[in-house]
Subunit: 323 residues, 2 copies
Amino acid sequence: MKLTEIYWHLRSDISMIEKELEQNIGAKHPVLKKASTHLLKAGGKRIRPVFVLLAGQFGNYSVKEIKNVAVPLELIHMASLVHDDVIDNAELRRGEKTIKSKWDNRVAMYTGDFMFARAVELAAESKQPEVHDIISDAMVEMCIGEVEQIQDQYNWDQNLRTYLRRIKRKTALLIAVSCELGAVAGDTDSETRRKLSLFGHYVGMAFQITDDILDFVGTEKELGKPAGSDLKQGNVTLPALCAMNKDPELKVKISSTIKENDLGGTEIKSIIEAIKDTGAITCAKQFSDRYLQKARETLQDLPDIHAKTALLQIADYIGKRKF
Amino acid sequence: MKLTEIYWHLRSDISMIEKELEQNIGAKHPVLKKASTHLLKAGGKRIRPVFVLLAGQFGNYSVKEIKNVAVPLELIHMASLVHDDVIDNAELRRGEKTIKSKWDNRVAMYTGDFMFARAVELAAESKQPEVHDIISDAMVEMCIGEVEQIQDQYNWDQNLRTYLRRIKRKTALLIAVSCELGAVAGDTDSETRRKLSLFGHYVGMAFQITDDILDFVGTEKELGKPAGSDLKQGNVTLPALCAMNKDPELKVKISSTIKENDLGGTEIKSIIEAIKDTGAITCAKQFSDRYLQKARETLQDLPDIHAKTALLQIADYIGKRKF
């Protein structure tokens, strides 16, 4: 099943969220408004607001409370992308010009800051004070995750635990928080909330692992960037870790070939093939499958409402997605 | 009176704030911790926490409530400086290496983000929900101010109102908020709170105008950058506006000489002299003095406690400061 098919059943809810995003992003300032709207129109999976919405359906949610949670979460996600684009000097994102290329670094920097600020401003409007606590804690953890990723670059000696901790902060956390805050907005009982948060965590872990696999197996067209970009930039992801675990000689080869400020030249292709040859993709895929299995099990005892079906379908989609 | 003399009487309170800043900036992550601490040790006037502290003394404040307010405000200020350094490619700040030069842009970007996030996380710990509202609103306004400043660059047709609105967002707002939140932390009556906030606004306006004057009259050594940097970068400040108002021909000369990506060469010095010759410094100084006078009047009916004396002394200092 494709994401669009799952989303089709949710289309009225999603269009409500899109409308809220558009209305709430609206800065008084024309450039900020244009830059933010540009980003918004470039689209995205809106996976975080969708999780908020679906988790909220396990309780009694008001559109207003959902909005106060879903919009900030998507804004935080978008802000982190804008800041990444400044640092990575990226010209394109999702096939659209980035803010830093359409305007400049200065506008991109402050659009990101503005979105962070707008996110906490909206969170403050929630009637539940814990919404604000959870969102600001998540922002802090995400920043730590970003810095961890820098520090761990080109460190070929890192282990699986380092990797998992990093992707937890970088990706899984905001998805877990999306599910948790949906539950908070819906005022579910605490056990339901705990389970939904855990579901988000597992799905988020699988989502990032799949992303990391796709960087090895996707085509340049599918990825919007050359395959092997992670490796080239010294980002040590699960397939590489699986391969180096299985073949210590490969580790020596990788660490002597891929160095900072030296893009590894044509050898990068042979290294990617060598990594694949160890069965690293299957190995990484097993991790992702295990997380998805845990995610499904977590929902087992929750009531069989439509939202549960949709959450399970999204989990299936993540396991099979090609881009 | 020098700032150090005013601060001398407040030294135990200020050292308390420094300690709180140091403790609360402490990230779990070593690089973030080092980068933040580096920034902290580089110093600064700590004018925002001092205003919080002094305003709080008009009520009954607990150290904990003051901390929940003063630390976030200083963090937001520091975060905005770090992000400015990324954009301006600055190597030095207050005579110390910037984070982007000591580490790199990536670390600087995420240290700034981390400080913003840590600021809202701490604000969330306040018992008074309005603390969080006020801080997040201020962050949004500051971002708008930053973008306004970009947009107004090299626009020699802007008027006084544009300038005043811009410095209100850029500088005065966070100082007004510091005074207001000090009052909130001290749980003063609403009239005292309103007056302290207004005092902060007036002092903040004077502070920025003085900064803008110093850019014309300061020496390179005092300023830590060549005089006339604002003008060179197309930032239209009050002395330039006063001069162009008085002498329309000068406006033609300025707008034909100073252009983007063209640093105006040696002519910048003659333009600065021409601006001074119109009496622009006196004109700008009058604005600053008027704001400081309003600031003093605002405090008139407040009780004559020690904090009031200190606030008035800071206002005097701002009117006379040389760097």
